[in-house]
């Protein structure tokens, strides 16, 4: 990265006596480089000593860690397993008697019989107390929870041995807090889209492509969007609109936000463009040392009926960092994560209660966690596309924030929960909020064993919720893990992980579970497709399990396929085909050979086969592993597009043929580090990365035009 202006010398000529700022900086760099060359790095900071120190910490039971997911020690080599789970569906209620046939070991039958037929009833009726979801009575109640969280953090800090952190640790959580919030977002980010029950893929022959999404019918934002006539591109602080109606692309207009407004995503629906951004505002404290930065997330809507002159229609703003957005019907749902300041005074409500459009959220809209403490919120607000400067409804799910999954009718907030006093395995708290036409209503909550890999590990189907979790021990071992600063010891995890499939009914009561899937392994990807679930777990070789879900009270493992390497992402590809994108790993499980495409034939779920495989040698990673929106998949056009990293970042397009397998039909280096997106409209393919758009014919991939924005 060059810090010196290119026109350096020129400026120097003009001002002979005074060095320019660039020259000063260049000099400074030279001097500092020369001088700092002989800076001696303290021994304690040498990588080998840091490694030793961290290793010891990992082994030291008293160390606390904040972890979303359990840790693996390096020793366990990699292996991958695809477990195909057939998980049964709701509709099949005639099979209640089968409950009797269920093996006790596999299925918990407590609620199975009685609740299956209750249908839709009012929320709190007949619901066990611990599954009822409560709103806060007042801010005092919330403040008590935050104080409890603070005390717990401080207690954890006191018990911390040998570290550099002292009792000010709760202060540190400001540092780590920001990142743990990201962690949570991250955990959710790796998810993908859902499938029609008939196993057809989501793309139904539309003439242009849309973002790869998690749930069909629930729109999601991304960095590039199209309506078939225009491209809408996030480019730094700008949104740019490009006309693609003729062969020659034309930049139409630019919307520029302020320097301190960081755009996360955009969304386009008919004549509305929604820009979601985050900004932070400094709030003065009592003195110059205790001011705080507050994060806000805003959704700014434009009327783009004239795309040359987008018209600002107003925005809504809520506390916290942007997490995600969804769009259903005429409504947009905006999600952010807000951190309460645990040091806040009771009177300073703004520091620990989220605000919507500058107004403190009413306590009745704050949903309390199932445990008596908390310091984070998942804030959700809805607004109508017709009236985008007014909120329709808001709720804040209070607790520790976590992964979000949005089905066609419900929002699920899933928080990892580790408390060795409560349970000797890792757990997840799930809270369900129903939504319809912008209105939000709390439904219920529950807690299950294990943690979720990403939002593909949770799936609503015919009112039931299916989840696959990786269950790790929280006690008895040498490997401690802490969430919310409670010590939860994970033992020899490589030998203690296992995976569980749950099926819950619409009230989150358990219908069934399948335990002990793929012992010693962790879920790497999952996909629920109608009555079948597919799960990839991994340790050394990658088994793909198929599970029959057609009877929700009696899920059954159908088959298991072991292949080297693993798939991070699964996507249905036409009838009976399942595409896996992941990494190829050699048999010893130690060397990765590159990004791998696999095609699984699931026509016989009891005998799933990997029928084709393609290893992209010299590549080491793809964004698809982390972000399902990074992939373009169209069975209609027979296209699989994504970028991968090797010697640089390249965008690839593959086609698939049952006989010939995967064929790379397009390859293009992307400049810089911007994430690339491929989009098609009509018979033209567009490759967008940073400020550049290129268009290609779709038959031969000949370049048509390019434009630099």
């Amino acid at each position: 990265m060059s810090l010196v202006g290119a026109d350096n010398t020129q400026k120097g000529d003009q001002i002979e006596t005074q060095a320019t700022e660039e020259q000063l900086e260049e000099k400074l760099k030279e001097k500092m480089a020369a001088e700092s060359e002989d800076v001696e790095i303290p021994d304690s900071l040498k990588p080998e000593n840091i490694e030793k120190m961290l290793q010891e910490k990992s082994e030291n039971q008293s160390v606390q860690k904040r972890r979303w997911r359990p840790l693996y020690t390096a020793a366990a080599a990699a292996a991958c397993c695809v477990l195909i789970i057939g998980i049964a569906v709701v509709g099949n209620r005639s099979g209640q008697k089968q409950a009797d046939l269920m093996s006790k070991k596999d299925v918990k039958t407590d609620h199975a019989g009685e609740t299956a037929d209750t249908g839709k009833h009012t929320k709190d009726q007949a619901m066990p107390a611990d599954m009822r979801i409560a709103s806060a009575k007042d801010y005092d109640e919330i403040y008590q929870y935050i104080k409890a969280e603070k005390e717990s953090q401080e207690a954890a800090a006191r018990s911390y041995e040998g570290g550099q952190f002292d009792e000010k640790r709760s202060d540190d959580s400001a540092v780590s807090g920001e990142s743990s919030e990201k962690a949570v977002m991250d955990a959710a980010a790796g998810s993908a889209e859902s499938v029609k029950s008939d196993l057809n893929v989501a793309d139904t022959g539309s003439s242009y492509s849309d973002t790869n999404i998690r749930e069909e019918g629930v729109g999601e934002g991304d960095i590039v969007k199209t309506d078939g006539k225009h491209l809408f591109i996030l480019n730094g602080q700008k949104i740019q609109i490009v006309d693609i109606q003729s062969k020659e692309m034309k930049a139409l207009s630019t919307i520029r936000l302020d320097d301190d407004q960081y755009i996360s995503e955009l969304y386009v629906k008919d004549d509305r463009l929604i820009i979601v951004y985050t900004k932070s505002e400094y709030e003065e404290g009592d003195n110059e040392y205790n001011g705080i930065y507050k994060q806000y997330t805003s959704a700014l809507t434009y009327d783009i009926s004239n795309p040359e002159k987008p018209k600002d229609l107003g925005e809504i703003t809520q506390s916290g960092n942007f997490y995600t957005m969804r769009q259903v019907g005429d409504y947009v749902y905006l999600f952010s994560n807000f951190y309460a300041d645990v040091q806040a005074a009771r009177k300073d409500t703004g520091a620990y209660i989220p605000e919507i459009n500058g107004k403190i959220l009413d306590s009745g809209n704050i949903l309390l966690p199932p445990y008596a403490r908390g310091n984070q919120y998942t804030v959700v607000s809805s607004f109508s596309l017709k009236d985008p400067d007014k909120k329709t409804d808001s709720k804040a799910v209070f607790g520790s924030a976590g992964l979000i999954y949005v089905s066609n009718d419900n929002i699920y907030v899933c928080e990892a929960y580790y408390d060795s006093k409560d349970s000797d395995v890792t757990q997840t708290c799930i809270r369900k909020v129903a939504y319809k036409d912008g209105k939000l209503e709390a439904v219920g909550q529950t807690r299950i064993d294990g943690t979720l890999n990403d939002s593909f590990s949770i799936d609503e189907y015919k009112g039931n919720l299916r989840l696959v979790t990786t269950v790790s021990s929280t006690g008895g071992g040498a490997f401690p893990i802490v969430i919310m600063d409670d010590v939860a010891k994970i033992g020899d995890m490589a030998s203690k992980d296992s995976n569980t499939l749950y099926i819950l009914d619409e009230n989150l009561e358990e219908l069934s579970r399948l335990e002990g899937l793929a012992k010693d392994e962790q879920v790497y990807s999952a996909r629920f497709m109608g009555d079948t679930g597919y799960v990839v777990t991994y340790k050394q070789v990658d088994p793909l399990f198929s599970i029959d879900l057609s009877d929700p009270k009696k899920p059954e493992v159908l088959g298991e396929l072991k292949i080297p390497g693993f798939s991070d992402y699964l996507h249905p590809y036409g009838d009976h085909l399942l595409l896996g994108i992941g990494m190829d790993v050699d048999e010893t499980g130690t060397t990765t050979n590159g990004v791998k495409l696999s095609m699984f034939d699931s026509s016989d779920p009891e005998d799933v086969k990997e029928i084709q495989k393609y290893v992209m040698e010299d590549t080491y990673s793809t964004n698809v592993s982390y972000n399902y929106k990074a992939v373009l998949i169209s069975t209609d056009k027979n296209l699989i597009g994504f970028s991968a990293y090797g010697k640089g970042q390249y965008y690839y397009l593959f086609s698939y043929d049952e006989k010939k397998g995967f064929e790379c039909i397009f390859e293009r280096e992307l400049n810089g580090y911007s994430e690339g997106r491929g989009i098609y409209s009509g018979d033209t393919f567009y490759l967008i990365a940073g400020n550049t758009v290129e268009s290609y014919t779709m038959d031969k991939f000949e370049k048509i035009d390019d434009i630099v924005l």
């Binding site: 400074l28 900071l45 390096a74 000010k168 980010a189 320097d259 301190d260």
Partner: protein
């Protein structure tokens, strides 16, 4: 044995996410010199610099799960380190960190032997901004992102800082 040394950053992050200490250490090994220099020029005392780096490393290790996979480890740990430095400034007695008097500083600039000393003509925020651009190679907008300030503000603060150091540098 996994080849850590020749692994890509993304591959290492992925491993570190899963608790692989070696992968984390390799990520650290690639930038620790820059980290230490950044801290050394930002903090007055080498001991504080050492502490800041080791605290940042522990915080990073404990929170590696929160590193968004697509963002770079480098920027992320730099941000954690700058937060640690800021925290140390906050914890220090306010009197120790009064804005240095530029006239007084210029009077004895002859006594300034090296750039590190010249650095202490700057206030703590200016030191961080200059250290970010010199050791981190970051632009004003990126620094703005890390310090939660506008890019324009960072630019003008940087100009001011370089002006303060002009006599030492020329």
């Amino acid at each position: 044995m996994y080849d850590y040394e020749h692994s890509s950053e993304l591959a290492l992050i992925r491993r570190a996410h899963k608790g692989d200490v070696k992968a984390f250490s390799e990520l650290y090994a690639r930038i620790y010199v820059e980290l230490y220099k950044f801290a050394l020029y930002t903090m007055k005392h080498p001991q504080d610099a050492e502490d800041a780096v080791s605290e940042a490393v522990i915080a990073a290790y404990e929170n590696i799960g929160s590193l968004k996979k697509e963002e770079s480890f480098r920027s992320w740990i730099f941000q954690i380190l700058s937060n640690q430095c800021r925290k140390k400034f906050r914890d220090a007695k306010p009197s120790e960190e009064l804005e240095p008097n530029i006239e007084a500083a210029e009077e004895d600039y002859a006594a300034v032997h090296d750039v590190r000393e010249a650095f202490f003509l700057l206030n703590e925020e200016e030191r961080m901004i200059v250290a970010f651009s010199v050791f981190g190679g970051y632009h004003s907008d990126e620094i703005g992102g890390m310090l939660e300030q506008k890019a324009a503000t960072v630019r003008s603060k940087k100009t001011r800082a370089l002006e303060k150091m002009r006599r030492v540098l020329e």
